[in-house]
Each structure stands twice: as C-alpha cells, then as structure tokens.
Amino acid sequence: MTNILLIAFAISLIYMGIANRLSTYINILAVQGIILFGVSFIELIQINTINLIFILFETIVFKTIAIPLFLNYVIKKNKIVREAEPFLPDFLSVVIITCIILGSFILSNIITGVHIQKMFFLVAISALLSGLFIIITRKKVVTHIMGYLVIENGVFILSLSTGNKMTMLVNTGITLDIFVSVLVLGVFVNRIGNTFEEMNVDNLTNLKD
C-alpha cells in the first residue's frame, strides 16, 4: 500500500510537468498532502497518539487545506494570469522529470552500506530535483513557492523513512519554521504583486554588477 501511494506521488510530479493552469498546481499540492497523510498513517500507526495528531495536523490541516487556500488567496488578490508560463515546452518538462525519476531510481540502487527504504529515498530525491526544476523553469514568482513546497514534501517523505528519531521539540521547531517561511514568502509575493505590474521573475533582475 505504501508503495502504491509513493508511486502515485511520483506520478503527481510528472503531472506537474504538463499542468498549465496555476489552479492545477494547487490541486496537485493538495493531493500530495493527502498522499503524505496516507503514507504517514500507514508507517507510523504504532507510534503514540500525540505523534499521530501532530502528523495529521502537518499533512491534512497544513499541507492540504491551509497552504492551498493561502495560495489561492494570493493568486486571486494579485490577479495573476492563470497560466504557469514555463520557459520550456511541456513535452520537454515531462521528459526531464521522467529522467529525474529514472536517475533517482539508479542512484537509490547504487547506494549501499546503509539500510534504507529504497522507495522512500527514490521518491524523496525525485521530489527534491523536480521541485528545483519547476523553480528554474517557471516564470512566475508564485510557482517558485510551489516548487519550494514540492521540495518540502520530498523532505517530509524522507523524514518518514527514518521512523521518528528527532525529539518532539525539534520536530515542532522544524514544522513551525517551514510554516513561517511559507508565510513570509507569501507576504513577499503579495508585496511583489503590489509593486510590479506582473509577477514575473523578469521584474527581479535589477540587482547586478
């Protein structure tokens, strides 16, 4: 079951490569939140209730509801055009993301010496690289946040594969940090929307030598 969910997560990454509308991106992020909840629910079922509530809060409340709503609000408020405007054609994006997944597959099979759940490692590394890829190739500032969130999801998957080694306090700190940084990024996106006509990275090229 875990494997199926993880594969679904990888497919959602590929779908992100061909998605055109920003609302599709947001929906994919919400779906990824649900998938993450499923994976963590199966993996951590034997761990105590507080941890379970914590995970539930992080995946469902935070990743599936709060962030998509917040992103929708940002998009509506700044009247952002619906298309994602990638620099590359969709076909190439899909090919590259597939190559990323293939590369992570090979990498996870090469690495030896440590007991690691290969599936988790594979999907996490693919999410990291696909997130970076989305950040690099999309024109809008708000899609950069989405790429960052994809990376965060990858990190979350990787941290699931370790069981739960970090203490509660550290975990809370990390979650809060991520939450705050997304909020801060959102605030700055709003500012960028107020300052410049269009929220493209082209507006952000004035600092140079």
Binding site: I111, T112, G113, V114, H115, I116, A124, L128, L132, I135, V141, H144, Y148, I151, E152, V155, L158, S159, S161, T162, G163, K165, M166, T167, L169, V170, G173, I174, D177, V180, S181, V184, L185, F188, R191, I192, T195, F196, N203, L204, N206, L207, D209
Partner: protein, 473 residues
C-alpha cells in the same frame, strides 16, 4: 541561566516592537545590551557547562558570541544614526529594532546550540528575522533582494535538512541515537564512506548559503547591496560567522571518519572558487557595498581553505573570522557616512573624499590596509598562518592559485578605495551635511583592536580558540 536570558531578551524584543516612544526605545536597547553582555560574561566564566539540554557554552560558540556582543553595541549605535538621518516613522523604527534584537538573540542561540536540529531551527530563524531588516527601505530593489535572500536561504536550509535526515538514517542502527555534536562522531565510525560523503555534501551546500561560500554565494551579495549599512555590517560579519560555525561543527563531526581527505578537497574547491569568483567580480564592480560584499566572499574563501589545510589552519581560520568581523563591520559603518556625503554608492560618481570628510577618509585608508591584510593588520598574521598551513600540508598548487587571485582582489580593492579618496573629479554634488567626526570613533576603535589582536593576542582568546580546535586531527 540561558533560559532566563532567552525569556527576558525575547520579552524586551516584543516590548520594543510595541513601543513608540523614543526614550523608552533607548532604555529598552540599553537593557537588551546589558542582558546580552551579562550572558556573554557568564558564558565566558562557565565554559563547557550545558545549561539546558540543547545549549552549551562551548569555546567555539563563546568566541563568536563575544564578537557578536561587541558588534551589537556599534551596530545599534550606527542604526540610530542611520534611522535619524532617514527620518523614518516611529513605527518602522520599532520594527527595525525589534527585528534587530530578535536577530541577535537567534544568532546567539545558533552559536551555542549543541544539538544539530536546534542549530538548524535557529539558522532558519536568522534568515527570517534578517529578511525584515533587509526590506527596511521598502524600495523595489530591496524587495527583490529580500525575496532572493529568503528564497535561496530557505532552499539551502532545506537541502541541509535532507542531509540531517540522511545522517539520522545512517546512525539509526546504533542503540541510542543522539543528535548532540558531542555524541554524533562516535556513531558515525561504522557508516560507509559513500553515505558519509552524500551527507556531508547536502549539509555543506545548505550552510554555504549562510557563510557565503561558492555554490550559494549570490543571495548574500544582493542582500548586502540593499540592506541598511549597519545591517550589511551584521550580514557580512556575525551572520557569516553563523555559517562558519555550522560548517566548522559539521566538519568536526566528520573529521574522525575516513572521508577527511575528500572533505578537505571539497572545502578547498569551495574556498578557491569563492576567491576566484570574488576576484573576477571585484575587477568590474562599481557599487561600493557590492565591492565590500565580494571582499567578504573572498575572506570566507580564505577561511574555508584554512579549515581544509588542517594543522595550524584550523586555529588561523577561526582567528581570521574574528578579525574579519571587526574589519568588515567598520567598512560598512563608514559606508553609511560615505553615502550621506555623496548620496550614492557608485564609485565612479564619487571622489576626493579626503577633502570632503577627513576622518572618514582616514578610516577608508586604514581599512584598505586592514582588509588587504597588509601589516600591521591582524589579518596579515592569520592569512600568513593559513598559507603556512597550506605549505606544510603540501598544497602548493592551491597556494599559488589563491595567492594569484588574492593579489588581483587586492589590486581592485586598492584601485577603488584610492579612487574614492583621491580622484579629483569636478562637478560632484555638495555634501548634504557637515561630516561628524564622532561617527568614525567606533571604526577607529575596531581597527585598533584588529591591530592589537594581531600583534598581541590575549591569552584568554588563544586558549578559547585552542579549546575549540582541540578535537580535530
């Protein structure tokens, strides 16, 4: 004790955000400086005691805490001058000082953290609190720089977090997993080399965003350009020290494993390319603050090379960071006064600073000597030790390359500073106000300290640095 410090200091920060009265603001800042000084003195006399589970007054942390506390005084003083001249509203001044206080607190925590996860949390918090300060001027340019800084730092710190997770996977077979810096090295001894290399790469790439080393140096440059000058002074000194501490602690964690030579090679690469990049950009840069930022990158490269060359290099790298903090902070304090005189940062629109502001010009001249590591600057001593360490460890090729690009950087710095000081351009804008010599005193004091520490370092400091590097091979 440290818990009390945290509570009281955070409380002062929050109150100063709500406060709108000028006198109360000064009192609050005075109170904060008193608390910060008290905890620093307490830490110095309670070395290696851990007050809470997650913080410990270890030598490395205490050294940089002292530097931070010293620079807090000057930075708060110069912030007052800066805000007074900008005629900012009381509200934005309150936000500025509250963010500054919180930044100082979280940097202190990042220095003293003895647990990997806690250090990570506080490093991320430094990014968020410094973002408020970078955005202080509220211009489109500052928006762009803040966005880039927060975004790149967030990604970098996420990559570090991946490294930490991989580390926890690696050590999960040992019986008790413990993420304190003291316990990690023993647990790493039977982890395979390829896995260790991967962890190290992930962690180092993330921390490079904070230190301003090669692969991730770009964010810091833009942040320097638009931040208020007193904050630029903080970004390029104490905040880069946060990055240095994190890299140094990571390095010490892995220093007893089999990947030590490989790790040194990576740090050599980062350091050398940082020097090359900064030398290349220094040749064409025309913005005074960007120039100082590139010079910081160059010094970070030197410190990284110092760590990588081992032996006396460890000692010299820490010493170099301390002295660089003092020098670079005074550069930015003086840049603030310079900007008020010329109303621009562009070097080719300025000149004849000696006529316009003699005390400030003298500061620039002395700073040029200090920053290019000419004697009697203390940086001369540390760079000499670092090159000596390179020589004794047999890295002649790196030594030659580093010296070559350092001399290019030296040439560019000298060219630009001397242009500002002596160029006889006519039709410059008249100075806005009469320059005030008292604003330069802090820079003279810091420069005197650099010379003094280089020539006659006090025994207490030497012992602290020795204590910090004692566990390294």
């Amino acid at each position: 004790m440290f818990g009390y410090y945290l509570i009281i200091a955070f409380f002062v920060g929050i109150v100063s955000m709500l406060n709108r009265n000028r006198v109360v603001r000064i009192l609050l800042l005075g109170l904060f400086l008193a608390i910060q000084t008290a905890i620093t003195i307490y830490a110095y006399f309670h070395l290696n005691e851990s007050n809470t589970i997650y913080f410990k007054f270890d030598a490395l942390g205490v050294i940089f805490m002292c530097v931070l506390t010293l620079l807090s005084y000057t930075t708060i003083y110069h912030s007052f001058i800066y805000l007074q001249h900008r005629k900012d509203s009381s509200r934005s001044q309150s936000i500025y000082f509250a963010a500054l206080i919180i930044l100082i607190i979280v940097m202190t925590c990042a220095y003293l953290a003895s647990h990997l996860g806690i250090m990570w949390v506080f490093i991320e918090l430094t990014t968020l609190s410094v973002a408020v300060l970078i955005y202080h001027e509220r211009t489109p340019l500052s928006l762009e720089a803040t966005w880039k800084y927060v975004f790149i730092c967030s990604i970098g710190i996420t990559i570090t977090f991946i490294g930490i997770i991989l580390l926890s996977i690696a050590i999960q077979e040992t019986e008790i997993t413990n993420f304190s810096f003291k316990a990690i090295p023993d647990q790493l001894l039977h982890v395979s080399a390829s896995w260790l290399k991967m962890i190290f790469l992930f962690m180092i790439v993330g921390f490079c965003t904070k230190m301003g080393l090669f692969p991730m140096h770009t964010a810091a440059i833009d942040a320097h350009t638009v931040a208020p000058p007193p904050i630029s002074a903080f970004i390029s000194t104490t905040l880069m020290n946060v990055g240095f501490i994190s890299i140094f602690r990571t390095y010490s964690m892995f220093a007893h494993t089999s990947i030590l030579p490989w790790m040194n090679m990576i740090l050599f690469l980062c350091g050398l390319i940082s020097i090359i990049v900064s030398a290349a950009y220094l040749l064409k840069v025309n913005h005074l603050k960007r120039m100082s930022a590139y010079s910081s990158i160059e010094h970070m490269g030197i410190a990284a090379i110092g760590i990588a060359s081992g032996g006396i290099g460890y000692f010299a790298a820490i010493f170099h960071m301390i002295l660089h903090s003092l020098v670079k902070a005074s550069v930015f304090y003086q840049i603030d006064q310079f900007h008020r005189n010329f109303r621009t940062y562009m070097i080719n629109e300025t000149g004849n600073y000696f006529k316009r502001n003699l005390p400030g010009a003298m500061v620039f001249l002395l700073l040029l000597i200090a920053i290019t590591a000419m004697p009697p600057s203390g940086l001369f001593v540390t760079e000499f030790w670092i090159f000596k360490a390179l020589f004794t460890s047999g890295h002649f090729f790196i030594l030659v390359l580093a010296l070559f690009f350092l001399s290019i950087a030296m040439y560019s710095l000298a060219k630009n500073f001397l242009y500002i000081l002596f160029n006889q351009t006519k039709n410059l804008l008249p100075a806005e106000e009469k320059p005030n010599p008292t604003e330069t005193y802090s820079q003279y004091i810091l420069l005197a300290l650099v010379v003094y520490l280089g020539i006659n370092p006090p025994a207490g400091m030497i012992n602290l640095i020795k204590d910090a590097v004692i566990n390294l091979p």
